[in-house]
């Protein structure tokens, strides 16, 4: 990392610059691949880049960094993504 003469806040872009943000998640997006029509709306709308686009336009979710915001489930036209609570109530 580059050294500066004063202390200030600069962040260089890299994967997980703020740590493993997947631990923030309360709701987990669950993708039902049988319903997915490869429209890629979830991939476009995900604000964190945690919807991974495969070569055949199927998608996977990177749970290490997904914060569980639910946008992907909201924009999915075929309801292939559902949000499920991470820790079930006892």
């Amino acid at each position: 990392m580059k050294k500066y003469d004063v202390v200030t806040t600069i962040s260089y872009p890299k994967k997980g610059a703020m740590g493993k943000t997947g631990s923030w998640r309360v709701f987990r997006p669950i993708l039902d691949k049988t319903k997915c029509v490869k429209c890629l709306r979830c991939w476009i709308y995900c604000p964190e880049g945690t919807v991974i686009r495969n070569k055949d336009d199927t998608v996977d979710i990177d749970y290490e960094y997904c914060k569980g915001c639910g946008i992907c489930a909201n924009v999915c036209k075929v309801k292939a993504i559902t949000m499920e609570r991470e820790a079930k109530k006892k």
Partner: protein, 387 residues
């Protein structure tokens, strides 16, 4: 070198343009208006080749300064009173982001009651933003301080924004002769700004990102260290200027006839200049009195004031008040002495709302203290309306 006879605002505009900033975002407010008009005129004449942005508010002006400075270029603006207060959030941001923005603030009263005359409550209320604060007492000092401030702000040991304060109308709209060096001489003194980092689309970084408590503390400590570094650099830069141009206005304070004094008056801005007349008169009367004009309120000249406090009793005139406490300079002078000197300190509130403080008034204040008739803290010349 040429002599230019003009008002404080037009002199500040000349200095700002000669420092070659790349961006000047500005929003007009009385009594700063002629400063930004002056710069706008240099756009027309072609002397100012940077970007002049007419923004929609002072908050936006400071935001644009922050954006431009973060993009790695020299940036200047000016404001006053309510305009400065509207910038408040962004003043903190500029300092925490370590951006060497230089700004003139023309000290004007805060309303209501609506009033465009001078007092220092506008800038004093911004003292904790991390900005370095100068208080000028002549148009020549305004010119010299603007140029010097870029050098100070951009020094890698400082990297903090600088606010140059001067009194509304008394300086902003009063013409005085000012020595203006040649552009080449200024260019030699003030090298091109080389940022350590900048916003750059080809080398993307996030600026001002989220950080954890343990790291945030380091930022505050580093700003404090940088203000301490500025204490050493301000005299160095002033000395270099004196060597090059023959002019000198003092370091953190300007001492005037302090030798052998048993009373020393402390004041800022135009009252500091007016006080020299009073000191001359009082010295003629045989009073052993001197003046320490405080040039920088941040960093605060603790060491210099302690030295004076060990020599003499101190008289402080504040053209501001921290309501519920006392004059800001008075408080900080006493804090500088605490536990190290038991000298007497007398505080006076004078000239609020732009009320004149003449050399006669200053002499009256000084005599009252020397004759032992002054209270610890009082309002000078308060006229009716209260107790």
């Amino acid at each position: 070198m040429t002599v230019m006879i003009d008002t404080g605002n037009y002199i500040a505009a000349k200095a700002a343009v000669m420092a070659r900033p790349a961006v000047v975002p500005a929003y007009p407010i009385t009594p700063q208006t002629t400063l930004v008009e002056g710069i706008a005129n240099y756009v027309k004449t072609g002397e100012f080749k940077g970007e002049y942005i007419c923004v929609e508010s002072e908050h936006s002006a400071m935001c644009a300064c922050i954006g431009a400075s973060a993009a790695g270029v020299r940036t200047f603006t000016g404001t006053s009173s309510h305009g400065l207060l509207l910038m408040h959030e962004m003043l903190h941001w500029a300092a925490l982001a370590r951006l060497p923005i230089v700004m003139c603030n023309i000290n004007r009263v805060i309303g209501p009651g609506w009033n465009i005359w001078t007092d220092e409550n506008d800038s004093i209320s911004q003292r904790d933003t991390g900005w370095i604060q100068f208080y000028c007492s002549s148009n020549q000092e305004i010119f010299d301080t603007v140029i010097q401030s870029f050098k100070l702000a951009e020094n890698k040991k400082v990297l903090l924004p600088v606010m140059i304060n001067y009194n509304a109308f008394i300086l902003s709209h009063t013409s005085m002769p000012v020595y203006i060096p040649e552009q080449k001489e200024i260019d030699d003194f003030l090298q091109k700004y080389k940022p350590q980092w900048k916003l750059d689309v080809n080398n993307p970084i996030t600026f001002g990102n989220i950080i954890l408590p343990v790291d945030y503390e380091k930022i505050r400590k580093d700003m404090q260290n940088s203000q301490e570094n500025a204490k050493k650099l301000i005299p160095e830069i002033a000395k270099e200027w004196k060597k090059k141009f023959g002019r000198y206005h003092g370091d953190l304070i300007e001492e005037y006839k302090c030798d052998g004094a048993d009373h020393i008056l402390l004041a800022m801005g135009a009252i500091g200049a007016e006080s020299k007349v009073s000191i001359n008169n009082l010295r003629k009367e045989g009073l052993k009195i001197g003046l320490a004009r405080v040039r920088t309120f941040r960093p605060f000249p603790n060491e210099e004031i302690l030295k004076l406090g060990k020599q003499a009793d101190l008289i402080v005139i504040d053209r501001n008040i921290s309501i519920g406490s006392e004059g800001a300079l008075f408080s900080e002078v006493k804090a500088s002495l605490y536990g190290k000197s038991d000298t007497k300190v007398h505080g006076f509130i004078a000239g609020l709302g732009g009320k004149d403080v003449t050399y006669n008034d200053i002499e009256t204040i000084c005599r009252k203290v020397v004759e032992g008739k002054a209270k610890d803290c009082e309002w000078y010349g308060f006229e009716g309306g209260g107790k």
